[in-house]
Amino acid sequence: MAVPGEVSKLRKTAGPATRAPSEKGDGKAAALFLMPWFVGLVLIVVGPLLASLYLSFTNYNLLQDPELVGVENYRQLFQDPRLLQSLQVTFTYVFVSVPLQLAAALGLALVLDKGVRGLPFYRSVFYLPSLLGSSVAIAILWRQLFGTQGLLNQVIDWFNGIQPLVHIGTQGWVSDPAYALGTLITLNVWTFGSPMVIFLAGLRQIPQMYYEAASLDGASKLRQFISVTFPMLTPVVFFNLVLQIINAFQTFTQAFIVSGGTGGPVDSTLFYTLYLYLQGFGNFNMGYASAMAWLLLVIVGAMTALNFYASKYWVFYDD
């Protein structure tokens, strides 16, 4: 995957190599250089992928041999209320947190792009949470931040102290099913730094002359954003969107730690991947977990395909 500016180069990579005059091909050398990758592809990726497809049609608990049950697992999927709940949680998470995250990323990238003094410093500050965000330590921090006695409530109390008229209620955000998912969404939005860096790189590629032409025509800043910046940036927006959606569907650590591995309270943070883990490695329903895994693959694949399809209508390539 490349930033759109790189896509044309990427095509070149995939194309046939320019041949050295005396050379027909480097088949033997290529076989040697690609050997580890190829072995890994077969044994660690494609083999397990096919095995999980097979297991998804079986009942398998590791102790006895897999027992073929046809499409039974798949039929069960759609009658399993916890599975439907986990889908709902995951879709809510993806569709709320990704747009917020990208909006924050774009907003700050625009502010930073105008040539602020100390840009490397600000960029580091915003980027740092992206690197730490998936760690257990940060999930533990989040669990406490939004806990009954956490930082959020301390700040609310402090605010209520100086401004008693507008009283805000405090509560255990993590332990209340109405807010628990919201805390995990906040955590994902907090890691907007990595899409922001990509936006910054994209903004830098927009030719300055477009802005010069626009201001000669008397276009306001807002007008320039709508007519120049955003259209020119749509490939990068698209790229970030695809990437972040794929990432968000796979969120696991944060949900696991914040909910203590249960997806609670009352399954309000039962992410799809967490439920898959509980079925596969909690109950050792390996067959059912495999069916879940394939449903996930289909969903992520369909979302990505849909994204690519829809991109025809809003992504603008300046070739």
Binding site: K12, W37, I44, P48, V116, I140, F256, G280
Partner: protein, 285 residues
Amino acid sequence: MTEAGSHLRWRPRLRGLFRHVVLIVAGIVMIYPLLWMLASSFKPDALIFAEPGLIPTDFTTENYSRGWNSLAHPFSYYLMNSFMVVSGAVLGNVVACSLAAYAFARLNFRFRRLWFAVMLMSIMLPIHVIIVPQYVLFSELGWLNTFLPLIVPKFLATDSFFVFLMVQFFRGVPKELDEAARIDGAGHGRIFLQIMLPLAVPALATTAIFTFIWTWNDFLSQLIFLTDPDMYTVPIALRAFLDSTGQSSWGAMFAMSVLSLVPLFLMFLLGQRYLVRGIATTGLK
């Protein structure tokens, strides 16, 4: 006239000031939770819940000594385990991914386009789809509760992201260099080792740094493959800590969390230039 003149002068300045205010406020909101955790790790438990401020009114290092010794092994033991896993993963990714990348970037072979597409697609494959059979495989091999399931796949270049990253980089190296070497009689092995790799140090460093950070943070596969407390790595140890002590000792928990983030901070400081460039060109997380 003079009014319009001064108007022109203060507008951009005001805008600049406004920009800094936005950035500083946003920056504080971003960083405050981290600073709060750091401050809390030096406060007695009672104070963590009483004051949102950063300066501890009662400073203590007791959380660190208590946290360090609160599991079956001292915390250094889990740090060592994590370092072992991470070093293996870094070495594996650097070696195996650069080999594959050289082939994709410079060699001419059958179905190259197809294999390249397969490599790109494997980047998007969710780990959850293959982890159940991987577990079965590693369990058959007797590798559960060893570091092998976390290290061996890296030597087989299964992190295709880094193959892709290095392909992008290798392509930027002028072809004239290896063509000249070829005329001088060098084979692909020598071109790779003596021309490509020395020039590709930034790409190798990016790969090493990201592998370090991701492997250090990785939770799911360590949770699944390492169930014996003697094999726990830092993330799993923190989780066990959370389960065993729960609400009773947030101070100690924060202290160990802070320690677990220190190697990440160091990598971040060390590799900042590479990280930003790496992410800008390939969209690494």
